[in-house]
């Protein structure tokens, strides 16, 4: 089943390597790993509810090459009022015309990943150190076949004023698009940066986007990272994000999933230093036939750290929500505090949720908990609002909005917060 893709893929990658010579050795190695593990079928625990492989088999022709796009304006896809460094990838290719870096060179380095691997020793040192190519087929596939990527480097003790906005556009108006992109970010000691990733697609043809990210957050550094998945097109997206944290670093992540056909997010946080703090929040508002799957892992390897996770979801139509949150506390990671919560509301008769919060703990002096709920709107609350003259539809929207907006609270950037708030409000009022 999975072999047919792997076989076709081989030729595709060989084709890709003609033009991309960076890290050729790694590519061959990753390809061998991919062949060994194969793409996952529904029997594999990690992909039980998310049939990515079947979707790819059914909808994609692997012999086609990815089309060029003649997109000239990205105004529709930007965040209104956000003054940021903009990096644009269209169909997996870097677009220098639409991108612009406004921050000073002393503050931040933003490069094409293929260039960085040739010139920048830091990029070279960190590239492919954190992804799990041995166990995750999509990570291995990305390492073998990535077309282009972004490299971000923030030097020591620097606070980057303007956020980095990475826009990944897929133009499938003519034919199917397959893109494999990558990100590597190194935030040095004591620095602060905020990164916003947005994914959009155009056209009626299918899109497959395999994205892999590696983040290195060094001592006392602070990363704020937001992912917005609001594709209008028929996208199947798999993104593998690994965040490596060391002593006293701080992390804030937020993932918002609104649209797409099949979305799979693997977020892996490695806490490899003491006194780290990690907050990761997520919200999935689904309708139609969207399937959104969030797999998160937080791996406490060192003592005295704190992690807090909150994911919420509202499912309507025929949509499917999948959540799996793992908390690992390794031996000797004493005094760890780890919290996790996943709350879901199902609106329609045909929507489903499959959730699996998971704790694996090998240290005794810890405080860990998880909570998970699935339910409807509180009838009493609804009745209260209606008894005060609010129409049922409005009352419902109001309650759903209150449920969803809680996860926005920790976001620091006001422009971003406003934008997300508007997205959520629009979605909930329009459809519920």
């Amino acid at each position: 089943m999975s072999t047919s893709i792997a076989r076709d893929l081989t030729s595709e990658i060989i084709e890709a390597q003609k033009s991309l010579t960076a890290e050729a050795e790694l590519r061959t190695e990753a390809l061998a790993q991919l062949k060994k593990i194969g793409l996952p079928d529904s029997k594999q625990e990690e992909y039980r509810f998310t049939p990515v492989t079947r979707h790819l088999e059914k909808n994609f022709n692997w012999n086609k090459s990815t089309p060029e796009s003649n997109l000239s304006s990205i105004a529709d896809y930007l965040l209104p009022g956000l003054d940021a460094n903009v990096v644009v990838l269209v169909n997996g290719r870097f677009n220098p015309l639409l991108s612009k870096v406004v921050s000073l060179e002393s503050e931040i380095t933003i490069l094409r990943l293929s260039d960085a691997l040739l010139k920048n020793p830091i990029a070279k040192a960190h590239f492919n150190n954190y992804l799990q190519n041995e166990t995750d087929a999509f990570a291995a596939w990305n390492t073998a076949a990535w077309q282009e990527g972004v490299f971000i480097h923030v030097p020591e003790s620097t606070s980057v004023n303007k956020p980095v906005f990475i826009l990944q556009l897929h133009d499938a108006s003519a034919e199917q698009v397959v893109s494999q992109t990558r990100l590597l970010a190194v935030i040095e000691k004591g620095s602060t940066v905020s990164v916003i990733e947005k994914s959009d697609s155009i056209g009626n043809e299918v899109v497959f986007h395999n994205f892999a990210e590696e983040w290195v957050v060094k001592d006392d550094a602070h990363l704020e990272y937001c992912k917005i998945q609001n594709d209008a097109g028929k996208i199947c997206q798999v993104s593998n994000s690994v965040i490596h944290q060391t002593t006293s670093s701080k992390l804030n992540t937020f993932t918002l999933t609104l649209n797409g056909q099949l979305i799979r997010n693997n977020l892996r946080i490695l806490i490899d230093g003491e006194n780290c703090e990690s907050h990761f929040y997520g919200l999935y508002l689904l309708n139609g036939n969207t399937l959104a799957d969030n797999h998160t892992v937080v791996d406490h390897k060192k003592p005295n750290s704190f992690s807090n996770e909150m994911y919420k979801g509202i499912m309507d139509g025929n949509s499917k929500g999948v959540f799996n949150g793992k908390i690992y506390v390794r031996p000797h990671a004493q005094k760890t505090n780890a919290f996790q919560s996943n709350r879901n509301i199902i609106i329609s008769d045909h929507a489903t949720i499959n959730t699996k919060p998971q704790l694996e703990i090998w240290a005794d002096d810890v405080k860990c908990s998880h909570g998970c709920t699935s339910g409807q709107l509180d009838e009493e609350a609804l009745f209260y609002l209606r008894s005060r003259g609010i129409a049922e539809a409005n009352a419902k929207a109001m309650l759903l909005y209150a449920f969803a907006a809680e996860v926005l609270e920790p976001i620091q950037n006001e422009t971003l917060k406003l934008y997300l708030d508007q997205l959520i409000a629009d979605r909930l009022q329009k459809n519920f």
Partner: protein, 481 residues
């Protein structure tokens, strides 16, 4: 802290209390497993043709299956050809009453603390005792039969009530359900059968005691309880085994079937030999337990206290098929030394307005690994399903592990599902609070652990609650990390 370490040492070095063997002459099958062995067991028990066919079908299916690898436990591969699948204590004539039972056997049970005669008189618990593979004695039978309750060994039921056995055997756990259930279906040697007729409330607790006595034997018993409309029964199960260096396999199947308005309460205190301090020996406890709430307004409640076994692999489940049916699961699982436990439950909501409740308390000490694995599945049709799950883990010592794997699958929008889990050790502030009120450290820990497990222990019938508390005290009293 030094005191608590000392206490921990004492506790962890405590030997297994039930680790004696009795010289019972046994009638054994040769080692190994084949169709001939299945035929041998069936012939030994004078079984009818249909049951032999059923066994053979299960055996053929089992040969095609592979051992599950997903539980969070590790153990060396089991050699299924190195196990004796049938071992019966030898008896010259079939006993007709308790007095005729082998006195050695009676002594065995006295040692176990369930003297059959005593219990009969004092506690009014009707006991069916299964030693190695064969059911030896059933007490109180007459009194029960006055009410129309059938409580007997499985082989007796096959002979005397074939229509009931035929109808319900495999109706809850199909023979091909999983690897160990299939194995059990092929070679099960005995067990208990219980039928409560319409509208009867069983006046006493029914109980089975399991013991593995002979070496190299596996125990494969099968329990089937059918509660007819509007009836009620409370059933207890206890297990012990002698100390042996090699691992022994225990693969049982328990099926519960409740009709409209009926209720079954099933309690287990499992204290199989857990192996020694180095993790040598001990029982592999791979058990399939499942209850079917077939009728509306029916209820099944599982309570388990798991303290023994080298490896436990067990998920007592409820299939809530009838509307308004209720499933409950209360569990305390304690692991020490090198014990491994992967236990939990499944609540399958099929009917409307079904409710389930899960309370699981794990306690791990020494170098043990304790996992909770549970599933709450709300099917599309199960409107207004309600579930609350709570699973807490307590860690004692820095070399043990606690794991939680809850699966929550909801296909109906009116369902309300809640799940919460915590992991912690006994708080220093809690100990300190007790200390400053003049309670010494050892008693303080006992108090806290007891309070921690109380919610589950409260569910146990009186006789078992005492035993369970003693067991808990034995393994964990005073130990703090």
């Amino acid at each position: 802290m030094s005191k608590s370490n000392q206490v921990l040492e004492e506790i962890t070095s405590k030997e297994y209390e039930h680790g004696w063997t009795v010289n019972l002459e046994a009638d054994e099958a040769p080692k190994g497993l084949s169709e001939d062995i299945v035929r041998f067991i069936s012939a030994k028990k004078n079984e009818p043709e249909w049951l032999l066919e059923w066994r053979l079908k299960a055996f053929r299916q089992w040969q095609k299956m592979v051992e599950p690898k997903w539980p969070n436990v590790t153990y060396p591969a089991i050699n299924y050809q190195d196990i004796i699948y049938y071992s019966a204590p030898k008896q010259k004539v079939k006993p007709t009453s308790l007095e005729e039972v082998d006195p050695e056997l009676i002594k065995t049970f006295e040692k176990l603390g369930i003297s059959l005669t005593e219990q009969k008189r004092l506690t009014g618990v009707a006991v069916d005792a299964v030693i190695d593979s064969v059911s030896v004695a059933t007490t109180f039978k007459e009194k029960l039969s006055e009410l129309g309750i059938i409580f007997c060994s499985f082989s007796e039921a096959v002979k005397e009530h074939p229509e009931l056995v035929k109808k319900y055997l495999g109706s809850v756990v199909p023979m091909t359900d999983n690897y160990f259930a299939a194995l059990n279906s092929a070679v099960f040697s005995d067990g208990s059968f219980c039928y409560i007729p319409k509208g009867v409330r069983c006046p006493m607790e029914l109980s089975t005691y399991f013991r593995i006595n002979a070496a190299n034997t596996g125990q494969f018993e099968r329990t089937l309880i059918v509660a007819d409309e509007g009836s009620y029964v409370s059933y207890l199960e206890g297990c012990t085994a002698p100390m042996r260096d090699e691992n022994q396999l225990h693969a049982a199947v328990v099926e519960l079937y409740t009709m409209k308005g009926a209720e079954i309460k099933y309690s287990t205190v499992q204290n199989w030999y857990p192996g020694d301090k180095q993790g040598k020996g001990g029982i592999y406890n791979f058990v399939t337990k499942r209850g079917l709430c077939a009728g509306d307004h029916s209820k099944i409640s599982w309570t388990q206290v798991e303290t023994g076994s080298a490896i436990t692999w067990k998920y007592p489940s409820c299939v809530l098929k009838g509307d308004y049916s209720v499933g409950e699961f209360y569990s305390v699982a304690v692991t020490n030394n090198y014990q491994q436990a992967d236990t939990g439950t499944k609540m399958i909501h099929i009917g409307k307005n079904t409710r389930s409740r899960i309370v699981s308390k794990g306690i791990s000490a020494g170098k043990s690994q304790n996992s909770y694995r549970g599933q709450v599945h709300v099917m599309k049709r199960a409107a207004n399903a309600r579930n609350h799950s709570q699973c807490d883990s307590l860690l004692m010592g820095d070399q043990c592990g606690a794991h939680t794997f809850p699966y929550i699958d909801v296909e109906n929008n009116s369902a309300r599902i809640e799940h919460e889990a915590t992991t912690s050790k006994i708080g220093e502030d809690q100990i300190f609070y007790c200390l400053q009120r003049g309670i010494d450290e050892e008693s303080a820990v006992a108090l806290i652990v007891n309070g921690y497990a109380k919610e589950v222990l409260n569910q146990l019938p009186m006789e078992f609650a005492v035993e369970a508390q003693k067991l808990l005290a034995l393994t964990l009293e005073g130990s703090v990390g």
